[in-house]
Amino acid sequence: MGSNQLKTQLATMRDALFKQGYLDEQFIQLEELQDDANPNFVEEVVTLFFRDSVRLINSVEQALEKTPPEFDKLDKYMHQFKGSSSSIGAAKVKSETSLFREYCKQGNAEGCVRTFQQVKKEYTTLRKKLENYFQIARQAGPGESASRPK
C-alpha cells in the first residue's frame, strides 16, 4: 500500500478504536506528547503498559487461585492495573477492572474470577488492535498527525 493509503487506513483504525470505546481521551494526550524528538512515543508508552500489565495479570491469577482468594492483594493489583490502563487511555480495560474491584470488595470470589476473565479479554483485544495500529503507523511513516476524533 502506498503511504497515503496507509495513513488513511491508520486514521480509520484510530477512529474505530475511539468510537468503539477502546481508547479514550488520555490516548490523545499521549499522542500530543509525541513529537519529532520522540516520534514513537505513544508506542513506547503502550508497549510499556503491556509489558508491565503482564506482571500484574499474572499476580492476579495467582492470587485468584488461592482459596480463599487474597482479596486485599487482588484489589491492590487491580488498582494498579486500573491506574496503568487509565494512563494510556485503555477505557474498556479500565471499566472492567472497576467491576472486578467491586467484587473484590464484596469478597465475591466467583465474581472476581468471572470479571477477571472479562478484564483479560478486553486487555487482549486492545493489545492486538494497538499492535496492528502501530505496525501500520510505522509503515505509514512519520509526519502526519492523526486527526482528533470529534
Binding site: Q26, Q29, L30, E32, L33, D35, N38, F41, E44, V45, L48, F49, D52, K76, H79, Q80, K82, G83, S84, S86, S87, I88, K94, S98
Partner: protein, 611 residues
C-alpha cells in the same frame, strides 16, 4: 528510552549541583516523581521534559526518600501518587515533611480513586494538604496542570522569606497601627522556633544569598518599649540582650539582638551628635551650669511632646498639633510616649503626669550631670560625653533627648553672636538652686532640681533668644499662642508638692505644683522669675495675647523648651529658658534688656491672667 524505573542505585542517579536554582525556573526545574505505575511515570516524565524540566522518576517511595535525604538540593519539587504499593503518598508526604526540606510536594491521585461523594473527595484532598502537600492533582494528569508546578517552588521560597519578613513586618505594622500593641508573645515564640528551623533549612537551601533582610522600623511604640526596657534596666545594665529580653516580655516580637543593639547605637550616635554641638555651649559653662526647668502645663505637655519628637519617638504633625497640645486637647496628647506618661494610656491627666515626669526626668538628668556623675549611658560614650559630664540619667532617655535637642537647637541657629552680657549670667552652684522657693516650680521631685543656667533670653519678634554668657545664643521659636493655663483639673500625679499660692501676691492656681522647698533659693524670687517671664511676653504684646502670656500660667513655668526639633519646624513652639537665682529671666524684647532688679511684682500678671 531511558529506564524509567530509575534511581534504584546511586550510580544511576544524576549528580545535582548546588548552583542557584532561581535562574532555572521554570526551565530546569528539578522534579522528582514518585509513582508505582511505570506507564504513568513515562508519560509524566515526557510531559515535564517538554516543559524543559529535569525529571527524575522513581517507582519506590523508599528509594525516593533516600534520594531526597542524600542531596537536599537535588530536587525542587516532588510529585507523588497517593496510592503506591509500599509506602503510600501520604506517608511519603509525612516523611518528606520530617526531612524539613523546603520542598513543595504535589500529591495526586487517580480520579477513580476519589470517591464520588464530594465530602470524601474533599477529605482526600484535605488530608493531602494537611500533610503538607502544596497541591492535590488528579490523574490522569494533563500538561496544563503540570505546567505551573514551578510556582509552588517559588512560593515555597517566598514563604520562607515571608516568615522572616513577617517578623519584621510585625514591627513595621506597628507603625501603622494607631492603638497598637506589640505582637503577641506566642507569635514570637513560634516565629523564633521557625526561624531557627528556617535558618537550618536555609543553609541547605540553594538560593538565599540574594535575599535581603528587611530593615527593622522602629515605630513610635516600639521605641517606647525600647525606652521602657532601658529605663527598667538602668543604663548601666542596658545591654542589647537584656533590652531584648525585656521587650519580649512586653510582647514584642520579631526583633533580634542585633536590631536592638543597632538601635541602641543609634541613640548613642544621636546623643553624640547632639553633644558635640551642645558641648560647645555647655562646655563653656561650668559643671554647675543648670537649666531651669519650669514647666508650664501646656508647655510641659508640649515639652513632652517635643521631647518625644526630638527623641524621634514621634513625629510631630503640623504646628496645629502644637496648638492642640497647648490647649490641652486630649487628642493631641496621645502622641506623648508612655515612658513620659509613666502610666497608662495618654490622657489629659496623664499628660500632666507626663509633664511632671518629664520635668522630673529632666531635673534628674541635669542634676546628675551637675553632680558630675559619670553615667554610663546608653550612648556609647564619646569624648564629648565625658566633657559633658554625661548628661544622661541612668534611667532616662529624656536627658539624652534634652542634650540632643539642645544641640540641635544650637546647631540650628547659625547665629552665634557674642553677648556683652556675659557677666550678668553666672553659673550657679547646684546648692543654690536648692534654695529656690518651693512654690515656684511645678516639679514633682524632691530631688534637686538642676537648671541649666541659661543665658539672657531675648524676645525678638516672636522669638526668644537665649544668650549664653559666653556668647552662644540659641534662639527659640515662640508660641504664637500661649494659652493660659486653665484649671482643668490637671494634676500631677505623684507630685507631693503643691504650689503655694500664698507666696506671692499673685496667687498661684492651686492646680499647679511647685518646686520642692529646697528649691528655694536665696534671693531668688519666683515672681522675679515670673516677672521676667512675663516680660518676655508682655514685652511683645504684639505677638502675644495677654491670655497667652506665659505668666498666666504662673503656677507653672516655662518649659525648658530647650528642645529643638530637628526635623520639624516648630513655629509655634516656644522655648524659654530663664535664669534663676536672682537673675531674672533676662527676657528682652528687641534687645532691650531687663535688669534683675527692675522686675517687680507689680508687673506680675494680674488677675486677668488668672488661669
Amino acid at each position: 528510552m531511558e529506564d524509567v524505573r530509575v534511581a534504584s542505585s546511586p550510580t544511576s542517579r544524576k549528580v545535582y549541583n548546588n548552583e542557584s536554582s532561581v535562574d532555572q525556573i521554570p526551565e530546569g526545574l528539578r522534579v522528582l516523581v514518585v509513582d508505582g505505575d511505570p506507564t504513568f511515570l513515562l508519560t509524566v516524565a515526557k510531559m515535564l521534559k517538554t516543559l524543559n524540566y529535569e525529571v527524575t522518576t522513581c517507582s519506590d517511595s523508599v528509594v525516593a526518600l533516600s534520594m531526597l535525604r542524600e542531596n537536599k538540593d537535588a530536587f525542587h519539587i516532588v510529585m507523588c501518587d497517593v496510592h503506591m504499593p509500599v509506602m503510600n503518598g501520604y506517608e511519603l508526604l509525612e516523611c518528606i515533611g520530617d526531612l524539613e526540606m523546603k520542598i513543595p510536594v504535589i500529591s495526586y491521585i487517580n480520579i477513580f480513586d476519589l470517591v464520588v461523594s464530594t465530602d470524601d473527595r474533599k477529605d482526600s484532598v484535605m488530608k493531602g494538604i494537611k500533610l503538607g502537600a502544596c497541591d492535590y492533582l488528579i490523574k490522569p494528569l494533563h500538561l496544563e496542570a503540570i505546567k505551573h508546578i514551578w510556582r509552588y517552588v517559588v512560593l515555597k521560597w517566598r514563604n520562607s522569606e515571608l516568615e522572616e519578613f513577617e517578623r519584621f513586618g510585625n514591627v513595621m505594622d506597628a507603625n501603622r497601627r494607631t492603638t497598637e500593641d506589640a505582637v503577641t508573645d506566642e507569635s514570637w515564640r513560634s516565629t523564633k522556633r521557625r526561624k531557627e528551623e528556617e535558618e537550618e533549612a536555609e543553609e541547605r537551601d540553594v538560593d538565599t544569598s540574594t535575599l535581603k533582610k528587611p530593615r527593622v522600623v522602629w515605630s513610635e511604640n516600639l521605641h517606647k518599649q525600647f525606652i521602657a526596657a532601658i529605663n527598667q534596666l538602668g543604663i548601666d545594665k542596658a545591654v542589647p540582650k537584656k533590652i531584648l529580653e525585656l521587650m519580649e516580655l512586653m510582647n514584642v516580637s520579631g526583633l533580634t539582638r542585633e536590631n536592638v543593639a543597632s538601635h541602641l547605637q543609634k541613640q548613642a550616635l544621636v546623643i553624640h551628635h547632639s553633644t558635640t554641638l551642645t558641648s560647645r555651649l555647655l562646655q563653656s559653662l561650668r559643671s554647675s551650669l543648670i537649666i531651669r526647668v519650669l514647666l508650664h502645663y501646656r508647655l510641659g505637655i508640649l515639652l513632652c511632646r517635643l521631647l518625644t519628637i526630638g527623641s524621634g519617638m514621634v513625629t510631630l504633625g503640623d504646628p496645629s498639633d502644637v496648638d492642640l497640645v497647648l490647649r490641652g486637647h486630649p487628642t493631641a496628647i496621645h502622641h506623648i510616649p508612655s515612658e513620659f506618661l509613666g502610666a497608662s494610656s495618654p490622657s489629659g491627666v496623664d499628660a500632666m503626669h507626663c509633664m511632671g515626669n518629664t520635668s522630673v526626668m529632666m531635673e534628674r538628668v541635669l542634676q546628675s550631670r551637675l553632680r558630675g556623675q559619670s553615667l554610663s549611658g546608653i550612648s556609647s560614650g564619646t569624648g564629648i560625653q565625658s566633657s559633658m559630664g554625661q548628661l544622661v540619667h541612668p534611667n532616662d532617655i529624656a536627658g539624652q533627648v534634652l542634650e540632643r535637642n539642645l544641640s540641635v537647637l544650637n546647631g540650628r541657629n547659625a547665629g552665634y553672636h557674642s553677648s556683652p552680657q556675659s557677666s550678668s549670667l553666672v553659673d550657679y552652684q547646684m546648692d543654690e538652686i536648692l534654695d529656690l522657693p518651693g512654690n515656684a516650680f511645678p516639679l514633682s521631685t524632691p530631688a534637686d532640681l538642676p537648671f541649666l543656667q541659661s543665658t539672657d533670653v531675648f524676645v525678638d519678634g516672636g522669638r526668644l533668644e537665649v544668650k549664653d554668657p559666653r556668647g552662644f545664643t540659641t534662639s527659640f521659636e515662640t508660641f504664637s499662642r500661649l494659652h493660659q493655663c486653665r484649671r482643668q483639673g490637671y494634676e500631677f500625679k505623684n507630685v507631693d508638692l503643691t504650689f503655694e499660692a500664698s507666696q506671692h501676691s499673685n496667687a498661684v492656681p492651686q492646680n499647679v505644683h511647685c518646686l520642692p522647698p529646697e528649691w528655694s533659693h536665696q534671693g531668688f524670687a519666683y515672681n522675679q522669675m515670673m516677672g521676667g517671664i512675663r516680660n518676655v511676653f508682655t514685652a511683645n504684646k504684639s505677638t502675644f495675647q495677654p491670655e497667652n502670656q506665659l505668666g498666666t500660667t504662673r503656677a507653672s513655668s516655662m518649659s525648658l523648651a530647650a528642645v529643638g526639633i530637628p526635623e520639624v519646624s516648630c513655629d509655634n513652639m516656644v522655648y524659654a529658658t530663664h535664669v534663676d537665682h536672682g537673675v531674672p529671666v533676662n527676657i528682652f524684647k528687641q534687645g532691650h534688656e531687663a535688669d534683675d532688679n527692675e522686675l517687680d511684682y507689680d508687673d506680675y500678671p494680674s488677675d486677668d491672667n488668672h488661669v
